[in-house]
């Protein structure tokens, strides 16, 4: 096992973690500010990928597709908030789960009606094809770009929340929503904006990841489950927690898939070791989540004390 291989796997883990962060950030923001559990977040990821693939196919440019995917997801988010989500703030979490689960079914079926049941083609932009020599390891340019995108978005999001008026309102909304409404902030518009922001982040993740994955109906749900694991580990409502949780999940999942089968190969037959190792690796992040919940029931960075 060489240094290059370990380094490449670490990069893979970080890249995977940063894409999870884009999903988890929106999810945790919506929960933190509005107290809403949004299962349909994965559908916004899917919308971003499909619109990006469709527009990139027509326009011939991935970047145009990316902007379109991001805009479409944000628009879909705003629309969903106004039509459906707005009625759910006062309800308990079970009602929210039910309603947003219905949205998953409606949006998946809707996307299938528009784009058909077969996966779409979306290719990596030409400038980011191939690999870059990093000295020790050769790494995919596109995955490096994804890492860059992830970090830039995280910084942008931090600046937005810590340094702008909108950020102040979001933070105020998190700690006391009656008070900021009383102070004359239009809380309805704020909620729509936050929801659309979360949707845009999910749509961006979908479009970015769609170029190296299969753009297909239902592609958002597996990522959604991981994003929930991330925000539970990080502390629900905390952006910082989402970042730390996402990186932990990304690196531990990747390293587990890579190292566990090898570890078992020391004591078991090769064929058995791959089977047992693969099975355990797929459980690893849930074990991590359970551990965090036992030691810190509110997650690593609880948002509300």
């Amino acid at each position: 096992m060489s240094l290059a291989l370990i380094l490449e796997q670490l990069l893979n883990g970080v890249q995977f973690g940063l894409m999870l962060f884009l999903m988890a950030a929106g999810l945790t923001l919506v929960f933190g500010v509005m107290g809403l559990i949004n299962l349909a977040h994965g559908s916004l990821f899917m919308i971003g990928a499909f619109v990006c693939a469709a527009v990139a196919g027509v326009a011939g440019s991935f970047w145009v597709g990316l902007v379109a995917g991001l805009a479409a997801a944000a628009a879909a988010g705003a629309l969903i908030e106004i039509l459906v989500i707005r009625r759910l703030y006062g309800r308990d979490h079970l009602d929210q789960v039910l309603a947003t689960f219905a949205l998953i079914l409606i949006l998946s079926e809707g996307v299938r009606m528009i784009f058909g049941p077969f996966p779409l083609y979306l290719s990596v932009p030409d400038a980011l094809r191939g690999t870059l020599d990093l000295g020790v390891v050769e790494y995919s340019r596109y995955r490096l770009a994804l890492i860059g995108f992830g970090i830039a978005t995280a910084i942008g999001l931090w600046l937005l929340i810590a340094r702008t008026r909108l950020g102040i309102r979001i933070r105020a909304g998190e700690s006391d929503r009656e008070m900021i409404a009383a102070l004359g902030v239009n809380i309805r518009v704020l909620y729509t904006v936050v929801f659309a922001l979360g949707a845009a982040l999910a749509g961006m993740a979908g479009a970015l990841v769609g170029a190296i994955q299969s753009v297909q109906v239902g592609m958002g749900e597996p990522v959604l489950i991981l994003a929930f694991v991330v925000i539970v580990i990080g502390g629900i409502g905390s952006i910082k927690g989402a970042m730390v949780g996402a990186l932990m999940v990304g690196v531990i999942d990747t390293m587990g898939r890579f190292l566990l089968p090898r570890a078992f190969a020391l004591v078991l037959e090769p064929a058995q070791a791959t089977g047992v190792g693969a099975a355990l690796a797929s459980m690893l992040i849930y074990v991590l989540m359970a551990l965090v919940l036992v030691l810190r029931p509110k997650g690593l960075f609880p948002a509300h004390g």
């Binding site: 077969f118 996966p119 990596v124 995919s140 990841v209 994955q213 299969s214």
Partner: protein
Amino acid sequence: MTFAGKAAAGIAALTLSMAAAQAETVTVGMITTLSGGGAGLGVDVRDGFRLALEKSGNENLHLVVEDDAQRPELAVQIAERMIQSERADILTGIIWSNLAMAVVPSTVAQGVFYISPNAGPSALAGANCHQDYFNAAWQNDMLHEAAGQTANELGYENTFIMAPNYPAGTDALTGFKRYYEGELAGELFTQVGQTDYAAEIAQIRASEADSVFIFLPGGMGISFMRQYAESGVDLPIVSAGFSFDQDVLPAMGEAALGVINTGQWSPDLDNAANRAFVEAFEAEYGRLPSIYASQGFDTANLILSAMETASVSDRDAFREALRAADFASVRGDFAFADNQHPIQSVYVREVVEVDGVLQNRIIGTAFEEHQDVHGADCQM
């Protein structure tokens, strides 16, 4: 009554009973994957089946289709409902081996035929075979055995092999290794539905492999090939046709060009039944058929051929009629082995581009009249 009179009455009675047999409606319940990442496969099986029905003009086959969303527990519920309330005579349609393992044993135990248009897990071909279970596609190992054989012929000596961790995935690796004679550079199980293969590609890069064998059907294969193409690893890939057929090729794009894969069928297979099938499918649905569509088409024709000669209410006669497999398969010669799985040829195919459309072309034959090994364990 004279002898001639008796004979005439006998013939009249026979004709009547045959007319009755033909007028009787046969209900076929199709449980298949129409949503999620595996939807392309199920849609093609369904469309192939429907096309055969339309072409036959037989209106006595009543088809009920339901989506299992690739979830075993849902497939079991649908099967129960189709048997209990739809009174289905025959079930078919399941794509995934883990779903087949959940549905098939209880279906045949309730006295309903199951005819598989796709999944062929080894357990159902061997120790758990059943007289009412037929497989009209292949036993899972078969195409992978052909891939192992092809790897030998291509001179590969150190292949890295990889498949998802579920019954068809273990069958795939076992099948490949049964014929492959070289060394293994590595062996990996991935998760079903996995979308990111960076960790696996890194291990392929670090291994000393001279080639890669994958079994990743549906969206899994698309994700892998896209990422493989961007990874800078350029080892040749050899695979079974499941991961490189018409359901995924358009989405894979040029990353799939030149990949060698094996299949019991190919759009350019030269026989009358297949030429007519490919033309009719394109005319009806506006796209090329996949290997899954060909299997759906054959499954329907198998059932229709049995309906011609026997009544489904006479189970023994209907079973014999199915065993005879008296229909023109689009894959050419087709016969059932004793375990009611196909004996058939497996071809070597290459992904090429014809008029801007990626598709497979036959470049050789891996096996002729090939039969799976599990039949030896089948006590029927």
